[in-house]
Symmetry: C2
Amino acid sequence: MSSQEQGKFIVVPEGSVTTPKGFRAGGLHCGLKKTERHDLGAIVCEVPAAAAGVYTLNAFQAAPLRVTQESIAQDGKLQAMIVNSGNANACTGQQGEDDARAMRAAAAKALGLEVHHVGVTSTGVIGELLPMHKVLGGIEELPQRVKTDGGDDFCQAILTTDLVQKMTCVRVSIGGHDIHIAGAAKGSGMIHPNMATMLGFITTDAKIESQHLQLLLNRVTDNTFNMITVDGDTSTNDMVVVMASGLAGSETLNPQHPDWEAFAAAFQYVGEYLAKAIARDGEGATKLIEVNVVGAESDNAARAIVKSIIGSSLVKSAVYGADANWGRIIAAVGYSGQSVNVNTVDIRLGDITVLEQSRPVKFDEEQALAYLKTDTIHIHVNLHMGSGKATGWGCDLTYDYVRINAAYRT
Amino acid sequence: MSSQEQGKFIVVPEGSVTTPKGFRAGGLHCGLKKTERHDLGAIVCEVPAAAAGVYTLNAFQAAPLRVTQESIAQDGKLQAMIVNSGNANACTGQQGEDDARAMRAAAAKALGLEVHHVGVTSTGVIGELLPMHKVLGGIEELPQRVKTDGGDDFCQAILTTDLVQKMTCVRVSIGGHDIHIAGAAKGSGMIHPNMATMLGFITTDAKIESQHLQLLLNRVTDNTFNMITVDGDTSTNDMVVVMASGLAGSETLNPQHPDWEAFAAAFQYVGEYLAKAIARDGEGATKLIEVNVVGAESDNAARAIVKSIIGSSLVKSAVYGADANWGRIIAAVGYSGQSVNVNTVDIRLGDITVLEQSRPVKFDEEQALAYLKTDTIHIHVNLHMGSGKATGWGCDLTYDYVRINAAYRT
């Protein structure tokens, strides 16, 4: 079920991370990227906002992630998130940690905030030290650049190999008050998130405590950011942070509030929108692939099978080539490590059944070709074993993925 | 340590699966491949040979694998292996199983053998029924085609997208008698073996019982075929079969025999040679990548880390582009799921140290570029945590991988 089917929230056209009350954002070029594109940005809130985050499980977690966790741990609040692109500040040792702290301190000073109310994120090349004079020079300019209409500028500042900005905003009624939830994210390579994806920023003007925000973020992340893959590589810098200003004037939300599920559904929509946008804009991608598995022994089994299919280089290449090669899909089901009844598997590509009860079904190759040439491909698998189900998203594997990654540093 | 360093065996130039005493082999075109290349082959032994096999752990194990296991189970012996390429006979239901049995029966009749002394293998497209009139017609011709110099013809018959034949033969002295071990294998996509790779055939004239052959095959497979990956996809048809004719005139080998380790080392060489040949000839590959991990908590941890690195699309793309992007290597170490001390990791590319005690080392980019343009790339990782070590092999990710797999069926 798409969360939007709940019908309790509406998408705000042209909404951005500054649509929720209390938020400003902005971006600028400080010199980390070779082109003149923005490479430094910030989201700033009028008040300390309830905050929650999820972080990569990669053992080599980058320095800024540790600094951000430390900030949130202090009193569960953030008033600003600073982000740079072009350099991940990962695997940079003590100097990298010192640099992340220096970024935080400089941003706090420039914006007039408590140091522990500032979070830091970085994305880009691993293993190079940040050119701090450029970063610190940029941070000094940030206060003038941070505006209520700066959502687009912020979005540009977080991109690396991404081709498109990824942003959405929804409105939902909480106890009669309209509140907003907005999000911005970046991809687009080293995307196989485990707990979080490579930079997601969610803002809301709902009133909610940090612990409940964390609860909801964990749940939504598991069903959205953690269910996408571009290349099977889990980054050192994955992070999703949410800030809630509480300025919408609505009651405090918690899991007992009658509108909690409406809020959760709206939140899920934002997470799912961003996750799908990251998958569709995966490096070199020409198509979004959505995999639905039903009838598995458990939801966890279904999730593993979804990830096995969506991560298969052979499935991804076949989708790129519009080849209805379902043998690769069933092979991926078979090596997922999950229990499978080899005689009861159905596979559909969109509405076209290609396998029923594990037997090949004669299908119209022309029709399949036409379907596989569209820009969103749905792969449906029914195992007929139980009620476990899951959905995940990925993209096709193309020449351009190889081109982009064969010479990323140079 | 390469097994060849034991110095107890020598490689036989131009040796093939028919070099061990008692074996003939051959191949022919029966019409499964669109081009005139061989697509049906056989290895035949003068006597029932002690046999052992390892098979894919993919849940959708193809029909011929089940039939071969059944044959070996009867009395631990095989006298012939029949193989077709161009069609995997996988996910073909009862009809596929009937077809595999019909192939076995027809080959037994044509060659004058017991039905249970014949094994069957298939490789190619998944989910299509074998055109049995072509296969059976080809099998009738097999007896004339199977010769003592038919190793090359056999090797051609097992190839699909492979570019080169993969065959080797060694000689080792057992109790004063020269015996041979030879192998032939095919790749080159859907290669991420779990228990075995996609078709390996090993012959030997050593005298050894099936149970000891199985023991050795399991051990060697774990260190060779199970340590390669081309694309992370575990096939439905992976199988390695070994046949021992016992015709060299040597004593019966078993783990207590003084020459057992010499035999095992020679066997390991054959497995490793074939595994590396499959990796180097991976679909679209231009380079062989060898990953050595030492200093891990255990050999199993080292194996998992090797597989994480060798399976990373980003590492593979960087090697293709000759980009010394070690950040991707350490990211893969970090998401391997194994325990890692984030402060003590060394990484070398060939002889070039790029990371020491987790700190970037200034290296000569020109020198690194020159090294990464060679055709065999060694990635060395030392975790400085324990004595666990492992080696594995893979290949770079290239435009051609995508081209080959975007339109495989068509």
